[in-house]
């Protein structure tokens, strides 16, 4: 490939300009607006009881949803790639559903299922609260972030093939040992990338969680819901501050993976 320098630079400028307009400038604006009146107001907003509760609840969503989706995702990817079956295309399509369906619709469907008159309404009648409490929010978070680990793991599994696993079995390793010592280390970056995307998705989930949580301040409000509430109440500094925390959490996740990867490559 030897494009002329002029056109090469032109393309770069176009790409960078596009990213700047769409991603960088809005993010920088958040930073700017947050600290417009000094560092005090955003910190106050975040350290308010409701703000701290929202932060804790968001982290709780991550801590529950991400491991579950990771285990499910790896298992499902193994099933799709290593066990050829006629049902695979169907499973594959179902896994993509959360990508295709709007989160609001997902939230609504959970509401219909667990709400008054729904199939699983007996749970609430027997004192097991799903809607407007943590279990429902976890369900919504898992639903919307389910495909990431599967999607990132499947291609890596296909690429490594079965030679290494078969070699391990001829050397005496059973299925479990082969998985831990050969398969998992070989697909770890695919899985890690899936985990990062899952985490980011759970951190930022708004639509589905709004519906099932009821967004009760200090009880069922995650950070994104907190941001929205602050914004609606004309407390824009608080909204910006909370947004910034969200953005930072996502960035930390990304950098953590990059750091791990760099350490590995060195």
């Amino acid at each position: 490939m030897s494009a002329r320098p002029a056109s090469r630079w032109g393309l770069r400028a176009l790409g960078l300009g596009y990213l700047t307009m769409l991603l960088l400038i809005p993010l920088v604006m958040i930073f700017y607006k947050t600290f417009e009146d000094g560092i005090g107001p955003p910190i106050d907003a975040i350290t308010s009881p409701d703000g701290l509760h929202a932060l804790k609840l968001t982290l709780l969503m991550v801590v529950i949803s991400v491991p579950l989706n990771t285990i499910f995702g790896i298992g499902c990817a193994l099933l799709l790639v290593r066990r050829k079956s006629k049902a695979n295309p169907l499973i594959d399509a179902i896994i993509n559903l959360p990508f295709a369906v709007s989160p609001v619709v997902i939230g609504l469907s959970l509401y219909l299922l667990y709400g008054t008159g729904g199939w699983f309404s007996f749970l609430a009648e027997n004192g097991i609260e799903i809607l407007f409490s943590v279990p429902g929010m976890v369900l919504a978070s898992i639903f919307v972030s389910l495909p990431f680990v599967v999607r990132e793991t499947v291609p890596v599994l296909q690429e490594i093939g079965t030679d290494q696993e078969q070699a391990a079995s001829t050397l005496g390793a059973n299925g479990w040992q082969t998985f831990w010592k050969i398969t998992l280390p070989s697909i770890r970056w695919g899985v890690a990338y899936g985990v990062v995307l899952t985490t980011a998705r759970v951190l930022g989930e708004f639509g589905a969680v709004t519906i099932v949580s009821g967004s009760i301040s200090g009880q069922t409000q995650t950070l994104p819901l907190f941001v929205e509430k602050q914004y609606a109440n004309f407390n824009s500094t608080g909204a910006y501050g909370a947004s910034l925390v969200l953005a930072l959490l996502a960035l930390i996740t990304l950098f953590a993976m990059n750091l791990l990867k760099r350490k590995e490559d060195a």
Partner: protein
């Protein structure tokens, strides 16, 4: 003792990979499974290792029925064409893998691994990762890894197929010597008849999921059971019902009752050996292998008429001619399901 397979059958979809195959591999011998792509040789090897389940038939390893045993309990060492190196482990950890699974003590593991690395001439590269090794080094590492657990049998699936010609030749000499030292029953799969004859004591020629013939290299070359074996273990010309090796084609300048008239089309000098391509009266193309001095004595020129006298011809009445490997006859369904199809190209 050794390995024996009885009546092995295996079908992938509508492709019959193994069709009633039986072989006997004597204890401590080095046997080659030889055949074209899709002949079932890799499938047979993988069935012996337990990496492929047979539809029917029996596999016996050192007197023990292994047919239903999983791969990890068969005590086989397996070497893959594309090395199957554990990419995330160092050379040391690759070789130590089977020992760690068997819970060997650290000191003993270390001693054994270094012995093996010395044997395969990789001592000093123990800390490297497979990506830092050449193809030949990777394959020797894979061999050390397979030998580490002291397998009862060693199975090699086109082990040198992915290497360049020079390295391939070195490694096969080296494998031969290694086998002489270790005496572990060894089967290796190849589509290269020269490699098979060079390394193995016993050859099993396979075609279309069946065994065509087995025996020593000499037996197969001198007394091929059919046309397929004759043309697979060496070059062959077809003269009507007769098959003649190019070095058994005598070229003379005087006709007599046993000769056939031919036109010299092309003379190719390949070093000491000269390849003379001729066309017979009925349009059949054949070639004769001469030495340089024979050519000089005959003073052959392209475009002249000469006479051919087959010194030794064979005919196989009753063997189906459709099973000849050659450009004119397709090889049957070869693509489906057989691991070696892509590998052997």
């Amino acid at each position: 003792m050794g390995i024996s397979v009885e009546g092995a059958r295996k079908r992938f979809g509508d492709f019959q990979a193994l069709d009633d195959v039986s072989i006997e591999v004597p204890d401590g011998s080095l046997t080659a499974l030889l055949g074209p792509s899709g002949s079932g040789k890799s499938t047979l090897l993988r069935a012996i290792a337990g990496l492929e389940d047979l539809d029917s038939g029996q596999v016996t390893i050192n007197g023990e029925d292994a047919t239903r045993k999983p791969a990890q309990k068969r005590g086989v060492g397996f070497v893959f064409q594309h090395y199957a190196a554990f990419k995330h482990m160092t050379v040391y950890d690759n070789v130590a893998f089977g020992l760690k699974i068997r819970k060997w003590k650290k000191a003993e593991t270390s001693k054994r691994v270094h012995e093996l690395l010395q044997l395969v001439q990789l001592d000093g590269l123990a800390g490297r990762f497979p990506s830092q090794l050449s193809g030949g080094q990777r394959q020797r590492m894979a061999l050390a890894r397979a030998l580490a657990v002291q397998p009862q049998v060693l199975l090699l699936d086109e082990p040198f197929g992915a290497l360049d010609a020079k390295v391939r030749k070195d490694l096969r000499t080296w494998l031969r010597r290694l086998h002489d030292e270790m005496h572990v029953t060894t089967i290796f799969v190849t589509h290269d008849q020269e490699e098979a004859m060079d390394v193995a004591e016993q050859l099993v020629v396979m075609n279309e999921g069946r065994v065509e013939q087995s025996g020593s290299a000499d037996e197969l070359y001198e007394h091929p059971a059919n046309e397929f074996v004759m043309s697979f273990v060496g070059e062959v010309n077809r003269l009507g019902e007769h098959f003649v090796r190019p070095h058994d084609m005598e070229v003379v300048l005087e006709a007599d009752e046993r000769t056939e008239e031919a036109l010299v089309q092309r003379i190719v000098a390949l070093g000491f050996e000269i390849r003379v391509e001729l066309v017979l009266g009925d349009g059949t193309e054949v070639w004769a292998q001469l030495t340089r001095s024979e050519l000089q004595r005959l003073e052959l020129r392209e475009g002249q008429i000469a006479y051919l006298r087959p010194v030794q011809a064979k005919s196989f009445n009753g063997s189906s001619p459709s099973r000849t490997p050659g450009a004119s006859t397709p090889q049957g369904p070869t693509d489906e399901g057989d691991a070696e199809v892509t590998a052997a190209v």
